[in-house]
Amino acid sequence: MLAFYVARAAYRGFRLRSLESLAFIAAVIVVLLGQVPVGSYLSEFVPAAKEWILDVPSTAGVRGIIIGVALGTIATGVRVLMGIDRPYGGEGGSSQ
């Protein structure tokens, strides 16, 4: 069922409107073909490109998200410890 909806979304959503969308569509095609055996059948470049996309740009973005969440958590904890911020719970809640 998921494959049906993803296929329809791919037809309707992946439109070449700008250079960014061109890069996005190229990455989608490479990963779609590199994930399955037919990618290596077409070219040895396709699985290697897929691995590079998953390991470098995708992982870099996820690491940025994880580092941002960690820094935000630390900053919020310091604010609570210094009394600048108040954790959720209101008057007489967990902050008491």
């Binding site: 494959a3 049906f4 993803v6 296929a7 329809r8 791919a10 037809y11 309707r12 992946f14 439109r15 070449l16 569509i25 989608v28 095609i29 779609l32 073909l33 994930q35 399955v36 055996p37 037919v38 990618g39 290596s40 059948y41 699985p47 691995e51 998953l54 390991d55 995708s58 992982t59 973005g61 996820v62 690491r63 994880i66």
Partner: protein, 526 residues
């Protein structure tokens, strides 16, 4: 009933004053004092008890005295002008009233006289009457103090002529003030004109010259003058068009029949065309029994690393396997679990199975029992299932710290004795949870098989080779197929790779076709 001698209005018995005109009522017995309720003879003008005046000051005395002692209730006398007039107690004149008042006052004891009456008593009544008679003015006559002195008459007349000669304009009245001027209609009496019959009823009874209510209501209100308005010519044209459109009767809308072109037909049915393409890509390889992927399935480095980590386990070592997934991702997680658990059992290691989700405990039990039966594993001796672990972080920590203790398992004495942690995570937070609570604190080696959606968030832990957080990573159904291919035991995952390959090709073609149609539409639009 008592009829008022002044206005003729009827008043109930016992009334002292007329309800219409306010004059004291005279009964057969006399006039009742409003101050002390003393009954006085009808002829007196002041109360014989307290001295209060019984006749209003403003009443004009008549020349002829009336014999009121003989007047009964409702009796009328013939007036001077032939009209019916009501006998009044004060018609005898002011001078006579004062004389009688003085006589009545003399009859009173000296102690009862108030000071102000003492002053009236000293005033000679005849002189006062003559003086008042002398100062009485004829209608239209001005008193002496209002007369223009002779020396100013000439000056004023010259000033008036000068103003007329110089032509001084009259003061201009603004338009808004003119708009407030009442409209002059015929039949409406002027305010100062006392014409028409007297009122017969109501509070205005007996008064002439009152304004009738009907003519006032009949006066049409005069609308205030509006400023001049000028509109550009096109505004009038637009107004005419609008008026024409509004006045036109509504016509039944004709049904627009457009030719149904091939492009429109394809656009309206594209959804079902896409579904048909995907269904064909899935079904055809299955029906044909294709196994092309078994020989051509590449194995990625992350899956190879996971395989190598398990392959390097010594025999009789203990492996902790966690099944943290739910039915939503069971389609790709169960093939992973079957491939890896089968490999572990072929390596003849003992397994401790847990689950951090209630659904995962049930699903994993079926998988592990099926694979254990195929490999001759005995529950309790070769593998265990601890079931669902509640408490998330705290529950997981208590489980791993309870190994070897009361109620624990005898497979291991402590968590450090576990050779490897194999995590099957349907969501990335379970990978992080095991890394934080088990791998990092106790240094236990760990590999993970994750769903395709969890791969991006789990991959950084695999690529962090400096910390050795994840020794291997397997992703989705493709990862399970790779593992089966590497292990040399084809299963459900590898068998479905032909269909998955066809679906991926179909998606790529749909993306290309969709963009071609999009670019073609843009070119036609230009």
């Amino acid at each position: 009933m008592i009829n008022c001698p002044h206005c003729g209005a009827s008043n109930k018995d016992g009334s002292k004053f007329c309800g219409d005109c306010g004059q004291p009522l005279i009964t057969r017995n006399g006039v009742t004092c409003p101050m002390c309720d003393n009954l006085n003879p009808p002829s007196v003008t002041a109360c014989t008890n307290c001295g209060a005046r019984l006749i209003p000051v403003g009443v004009t005395p008549s020349e002829e005295p009336l014999e009121l002692l003989e007047v009964e209730e409702g009796a009328v006398v013939e007036g001077v002008e032939g009209e019916d007039t009501v006998a009044e107690p004060d018609d005898r004149g002011e001078s006579e009233s004062l004389e009688e008042f003085a006589d009545v006052s003399e009859a009173e004891p000296e102690e009862a006289m108030p000071p102000w009456l003492e002053k009236l008593r000293e005033l000679p009544s005849e002189e006062a009457a003559s003086e008042e008679e002398a100062t009485r003015l004829a209608p239209g006559e001005l008193p002496d103090w209002l007369e223009v002195p002779p020396e100013f008459e000439e000056v004023l007349s010259e000033a008036g002529r000068a103003v007329e000669e110089e032509g001084v304009p009259r003061a201009e009245i603004p338009s808004w003030l003119e708009a407030l001027r009442p409209a002059e209609e015929e039949g409406v009496a002027e305010p100062g004109e006392l014409a028409g019959p007297p009122e017969r009823t109501g509070l205005l009874k007996g008064i002439r010259g009152t304004l009738g209510i009907e003519p006032i209501l009949a006066i049409p209100p005069r609308a205030a003058s509006l400023p001049a308005f000028s509109a550009p010519p096109h505004a009038y044209e637009h107004a005419e068009v609008f008026d024409k459109v509004v006045r036109e009767p509504a016509r039944p809308s004709a049904e627009v029949v457009r030719p149904r072109s091939l492009e429109t037909l394809v656009a309206s049915t594209m959804r079902w065309i896409i579904y048909l393409i995907v269904a064909t890509a899935v079904v055809v390889p299955i029906l044909r029994g294709s196994n092309w992927a078994e020989a051509n399935m590449p194995v990625t480095a992350s899956t190879m690393a996971m395989y190598d980590a398990i392959e390097d386990l010594p025999a009789d070592s203990v492996v902790l396997v966690s099944h943290d997934y739910d039915p939503g991702v069971a389609g790709e997680m169960i093939p992973q679990a079957k491939a890896v658990v089968g490999h572990l059992m072929r390596r003849q290691v003992r397994l401790i199975n847990v689950s951090l989700t209630p659904e995962g405990a049930r699903l994993s039990r079926e998988v592990v029992d099926e694979v254990a039966e195929a490999h001759g594993y005995e529950y309790g001796d070769d593998y265990l299932s601890l079931g669902y672990v509640v408490g998330v972080e705290a529950g997981l920590r208590s489980i791993v710290e309870g190994f070897g203790g009361p109620g624990g398992t005898d497979f291991v004495d402590r968590i450090e004795d576990v050779a490897l942690v194999v995590e099957f995570a349907g969501a990335p937070e379970y990978v992080r949870l095991w890394l934080e609570q088990v791998q990092a604190p106790y240094g236990v080696p760990m590999v993970a098989g994750v769903s395709a959606t969890a791969d991006p968030l789990a991959r950084p832990y695999y690529r962090n080779q400096a910390q050795h957080q994840l020794l291997g990573l397997m992703t989705g159904l493709v990862g399970a197929a790779e593992y089966e291919r590497r292990a040399g035991h084809p299963g459900l995952a590898l068998a479905s790779m032909d269909s998955q390959s066809m679906v991926h090709i179909a998606m790529v073609l749909l993306v290309l076709v969709g963009n071609l149609a999009y670019l073609g539409g843009r070119l036609r639009g230009k």
